[in-house]
Amino acid sequence: MGHLILRVTIKTLFAPIILFALYVQFHGDYGPGGGFQAGVILASAFILHALGFGLDRCQRVIPPSWLPVGMALGVLIYAGTGVYTLLFGGNFLDYDVIQPDSHHHAGQHIGIIAVELGVGLAVAATMLQIYYAFAGREPEPMDDSW
């Protein structure tokens, strides 16, 4: 029962961290934040859980095979937004063509949210992948060897 405190804390904090990550993700327009920061925070929630409860349990929640898909999908969402604007007549990443008839540049908002989602997904997947790659090499220390 040595790390009861650790495990209870991690369980308590896990959901708020994810919530905070979502907050940071969507408030990049109005405060410090954005895709990269949110992705790192999201990944850190899972990494924290893996540190406290073991890599196996984390890998049951997020299987390693999901992560390359996450990385690729994130990049594709971003590039896809750019290609979307290309196909609709604007320059690459010209967000205004997403909503051409808006007076307060709604296209900019939509475009930014889309690309930041792509960035957040890609970064979260990448950070988690890095952790899995490093942690998965050494055998986990036994509970009583702390």
Partner: protein, 213 residues
């Protein structure tokens, strides 16, 4: 003379960190120490950029309450940092011109440039493989700046562009550290050590063994 040194304290810190980082990289430590030194070196560059963007009396470049709402109604839903920027740099000019210790030529040019064209805000983030550029040009500075002046609220913002450049550089640094540490782990598995002198000795042994073949 003392004032000369003290007024540029941020540059001295940058130089100190930079040299420390480079020394750690060059000195014969182990691979992980080299990467830490590299990180320290990159951190000094971050500090350099951030202090470069700081405006005396300027706050964080996020639109504060009044501007955000009234600006939104106008036309650009993004940020109006640029419009208040016009005013901001007017202020900037005064505060810097009154500082006699600053390097004359360089600073004045910034002021003149900025009075005319505020640099656009570019959001650079570079997750693995993706290149993200977003550049926003200035809005017609007139309307909102006038509104700000009418309300008597002149808010000074720091320059947001270096912040964004640093975000990019930080991401690049993270990726570099990740790749470097992965290489260190692989080297540890392949060679059994991460000490640089041992590695060099083993590599030289391999070279010599090859020649004899």
């Amino acid at each position: 003379m003392i004032e000369f040194i003290l007024a540029r304290y941020n540059y001295w810190i940058v130089i100190a960190l930079m040299m420390t980082g480079l020394y750690i990289v060059f000195s014969r430590g182990n691979l992980v120490k080299t990467l830490i030194g590299l990180n320290l070196f990159q951190t000094s560059v971050f500090i350099f950029y951030i202090t470069m963007g700081k405006v005396f009396g300027g706050t964080a470049p996020i639109l504060l309450g009044g501007h955000a709402e009234e600006g939104h109604g106008e036309e650009h839903g993004g940020d109006h940092a640029e419009s208040t920027h016009g005013t901001a740099y007017g202020e900037h000019e005064d505060s810097y011109a009154s500082d006699p210790l600053h390097e004359g030529g360089a600073v004045n040019t910034i002021e003149e440039t900025h009075a005319e064209l505020s640099p656009g805000e570019s959001l650079h983030t570079a997750p693995e493989g993706a290149v993200n550029e977003l550049a926003r040009a200035e809005t017609p500075a007139g309307d909102v700046a006038k509104a700000a002046l009418d309300h008597g609220t002149e808010i000074l913002y720091s320059n947001p562009l270096p912040h964004v450049l640093i975000l990019t550089a930080i991401v690049v640094g993270v990726a570099t550290t990740a790749v470097g540490l992965s290489l260190a782990v692989r080297i540890r598995e392949a060679y059994g050590t991460v000490e640089e002198d041992r590695l060099e000795a083993i590599d030289n042994q391999d070279d010599r063994a090859e020649v004899l073949v």
